[in-house]
Symmetry: C2
Subunit: 297 residues, 2 copies
């Protein structure tokens, strides 16, 4: 009945034999409830989100639906354990391309413990969080549907991208010729269908940005933007990409105490700028002039 999610790209993964999320055939995503403060914080967040009238409906749809908690057999064989029951946001996709981007140059709540702050600060400094305002936490791109080969760069590489490499990875995400071969320049064939258009990822991020400019309810530390689209249909010529943005991971959400979430907003604006650049880069002038790493010139 419970399966290991095939399209999870970040976080603890059940396939490695550890405690990780599971899914079922009814579109549910079971996330193990961390038994420290993080678990209770995530439940508190989802509960507050569901009931807070200040969260507008157009914003609510950027969060996975919360269906309560349930004890199920955990993926690590430890028996019945409590899980959050969430909407499996990719359940309706045939062949989703998924990218998980942790937003904000600071992943720690000022109220956290000294040891936790120290750990996070070190990671923020060693990754692109500090420089770009975000870091890519996970990504899995199927490079060939025939043999199901994938391009899944290592965490170290992904998490510490320089600006040019971030543009390269975002470009590969929306290219028909995805490849880990640095000599193959991403064609960005699907940029306008995935990033662009009235229901594309850029418009969704801009809608979120508008809310973050005014909302003084939550501060989202260590929260991710998940970007998803339907790959195969685009490869077959469809014009509909199913481009989707969701916010995920709320174990470190804090009370905003009257100020906007300037840390999340800054990182979100930085991501928006990168995606706009990839979308608007003139193809006719040769992609590599502006958007490849230096070593590709």
């Amino acid at each position: 009945m419970f399966k290991i999610p095939e399209h999870q790209v970040a976080g603890h993964q059940a396939k490695d034999g550890v405690l990780g999320p599971l899914i079922d055939d009814s579109g549910n995503f079971y996330k193990p409830l961390q038994n420290d403060e993080r678990g209770s914080k995530e439940i508190a967040f989802y509960t507050s989100l569901s009931s807070d009238p200040r969260v507008p409906d157009n914003i609510r749809r950027y969060f996975p639906i919360f269906r309560g908690t349930k004890a199920i057999n955990a993926s690590d064989g430890s028996g019945l354990q409590p899980h959050l029951v969430l909407e499996d946001v990719v359940s309706s996709y045939q062949s989703p391309f998924v990218m998980d981007i942790k937003i904000g140059s600071r992943t720690w709540d000022p109220q956290a413990s000294e040891s936790y702050i120290e750990k996070c600060l070190k990671k923020d400094r060693e990754s692109s969080s500090l420089t770009l305002g975000f870091r890519i936490s996970g990504l899995k791109l199927v490079t060939s549907s025939k043999d199901a080969s994938v391009w899944q760069p290592g965490r170290k590489f992904l998490q510490n991208l320089a600006a040019n490499d971030a543009k390269l990875v975002l470009s590969r995400f929306v290219s028909s010729n995805v490849s880990s071969n640095d000599n193959i320049h991403p064609d960005r064939s699907f940029a306008s269908k995935v990033f662009g258009g009235p229901s594309g990822i850029l418009e969704q991020l801009l809608e979120l940005k508008k809310w973050f400019e005014v909302q003084t309810i939550f501060h989202f530390y260590s929260c991710s933007v998940l970007m998803v689209y339907e790959r195969e249909s685009l490869m077959k010529g469809s014009s509909s990409s199913g481009a989707l943005v969701k916010l995920v991971d709320f174990a470190h959400v804090a009370d905003a105490k009257g100020a906007i979430d300037h840390n999340f907003l800054g990182g979100l604006c930085s991501l928006i700028k990168f995606i706009s650049d990839v979308l608007e880069a003139p193809v006719e002038n040769g992609f590599c002039n502006n958007y490849c790493s230096k070593d590709e010139h």
Copy 2:
């Protein structure tokens, strides 16, 4: 010929007998050139700003005009010392109200030395920088033009404001009844003339915000927004406030390396939200309902 600037509200001050800025009668502001890296960084910034064609003209006016460097007798009696020669941005004001707000939740460049980072991080955590995305570095409000009494809150108080207190200070800044007496509710008489309107402070900050959403030239660590207006003319019923926004202090500007300045932008957006709230707060419902510290209820 050289005088101590009367309206300087933050930074080292010559009036305390230390090395500090001086002004002359021709509208020049002489800032001692720090003889470590900071001095050369600030010159490099002004030079680059003057010559970089990517900086649009409408943005250039938010920076003080740079007139080179000059050796003058330093304020601490140490003889001829090199100074930056800048535009004295308040020289044309009769009775300026000035507020200096250091923008960004992080005041340190990731490339700085470990000891410098540690010092700044401590200060950011002990101030409102981390929570609000900015801290008020200085403020001097004349409460009575008759006896020239001023309200100049202590640094400790100013730099670690909670959200409600930040609104209170911003409200006092634009009130006719400025007072340090907590029982006197700021009337915000001048909010619409200073913060509002097509040439008010909010519009200027929004113009800067637009630029920060796209500029990938500079990262402005530890840089301040200076807000100025002409006080006496408003008190006498004039409709023109001379509301002015300037960016100052560029000793820690770094190369953007391809990403927007998400740290500055986030803090700027937070300040914009506070100023919008003070501007839009309904006076008829009683200011104190929403915008006073808890202890004033």
